[in-house]
Amino acid sequence: MPTRLCLNGVSKNFVMHLQGGAVLPVVAEVELAVAAGECVVLGGRSGIGKSSVLKMIYGNYRCEEGQILITDGDRIVNVATASPREILALRKETIGYVSQFLRAIPRVSARDIVAEPLIERGVERDDAVSRAEDMLARLNVPEKLWGLPPATFSGGEQQRVNIARGFIADFPILLLDEPTASLDAANRAVVVDLVKEKKASGAALLGILHDADVRERIADRVIDMEAFAAEKAA
């Protein structure tokens, strides 16, 4: 299967100017590749830099060293050097991201949050909304919540809205940051099925999953991030 995502020599430090310019090394010389149809899981203790890697791939954190190569149709884009415009284009068409926590937008309903990626891709509003409702139903989000902004939802409900939003569109690359952390067994099983469907459709998935059971059912490979711990390389 073709490679969709490839990191070469990716390092990340945070320079904390408010702490006298202290340098916090996070990861060093990360090498990894994810092929279409594959689900790769990042492993390693908390604070090792797993979320930071996903955020760099999504362009949310800067990548000042190394390359983050994304196959986008018939071209390859390096996120590390891409312009904001190019990153926005990747987010619209190519990279989906289920963040660890949902960022609720005042006054925007769960239904609309989930439908948004489809609408942005030009799907008719009614169609997008009905697919959003199907997705919310599948993730067992109570129908009475669909029309409400998720700011007041429980952690698990917000997480499921976030998952629905991430899985609704057919992104060729999907990043998952602990999507099952606050879910019960039934909903974890739904996520496992969703991931399997994505893999079957040829998406490349890169995730962080602490739940051993879920991990076993969906991961093709686990990459131990200890190998890229910044202190070791320094």
Binding site: H17, L18, K55, G59, Y61, L88, I105, R107, E116, E120
Partner: protein
């Protein structure tokens, strides 16, 4: 924020080395960027950092001391805004652009009705049919969530939030491609701000508008913009994708700014 509608043609607006002095005092210095169709750019910074000066230079309300501002006209030609003649510039301001002031009274005519405030802009671009103008005004009042029963009232009796929504309707009715906004939520209560922000977010997305939004409020920038310029003392400190600048700020000043707020 919604992702922009992509148009691979060319930028809509280009600033190159835009500098404005007030005598010897710096307003803004050496600001360069491109704004693409469908993109919302936030200009953030503390009071006195040069945001309004920059916005006014971009929108030709102020003449830069040096630097160039170019705009892609509807015929596709990129034109230096300060080389346009007065008639061309006026047409641009009336049709292709909107300007939303912090204080609605600066952008509205307070002594004519809400309907006339909206209808006037249409008449300025040649609309003549009274029924059609009124119909359009009604539909815009509805879009900005003003009860159409208030169409004949003048905005002096409106709340701050309503006035601001009316100002937005007045600006959008001519189908502009570019909106300049100076602290659009500045004078409003927090709950009223949320409603206005949501409305702006929707309208910008629905019409694929480009916008330059000046704000000192990073939460407003987070919600509305794709890209950000951070200013201080008239200088550009940092630029980039909005969530990148807010979540992984690089410049010492930006780190200070981001750490000073509760959570955005």
């Amino acid at each position: 924020m919604n992702l922009p509608v992509f148009d691979d043609g060319a930028p809509l607006l280009r600033a190159s080395g835009v500098t404005r002095y007030y005598g010897t005092r710096i307003g803004c210095t050496d600001v360069s960027f491109e704004l693409w169709p469908g993109e919302v750019l936030a200009v953030v910074g503390e009071s006195g950092s040069g945001k309004t000066t920059l916005l006014n230079c971009l929108s030709t309300r102020l003449v830069p001391t040096s630097g160039v501002v170019e705009y892609r006209m509807r015929d596709g030609a990129m034109r230096d805004l300060f080389q346009l003649n007065e008639a061309e510039r006026r047409l641009l301001m009336r049709t292709d652009w909107g300007f939303v002031h912090q204080n609605p009274a600066d952008g509205l005519r307070m002594t004519v009705s809400a309907g006339a405030n909206v209808g006037e802009r249409l008449m300025a671009v040649g609309a003549r049919n009274y029924g059609a103008i009124r119909g359009e005004a009604e539909s815009w009042l509805d879009k900005v969530e003003i009860d159409t029963g208030r169409i004949d009232d003048d905005p002096r009796g409106f709340s701050g939030g309503m006035r601001q929504r009316l100002q937005i309707a007045r600006n959008l009715v001519t189908g502009p491609r570019l909106i300049f906004m100076d602290e659009p939520t500045g004078g409003l209560d927090v709950s009223v701000q949320a409603r206005l922000l949501d409305l702006l977010r929707q309208l910008v997305g629905e019409f694929g508008l480009s916008a330059v939004v000046v704000t000192h409020d990073l939460a407003v920038a987070r919600l509305l913009s794709h890209r950000m310029i951070v200013m201080r003392g008239g200088n550009v400190i940092e630029t980039g994708l909005t969530d990148q600048v807010l979540d992984d700020p690089r410049a010492p000043y930006t780190q200070l700014l981001v750490s000073s707020i509760l959570q955005v």
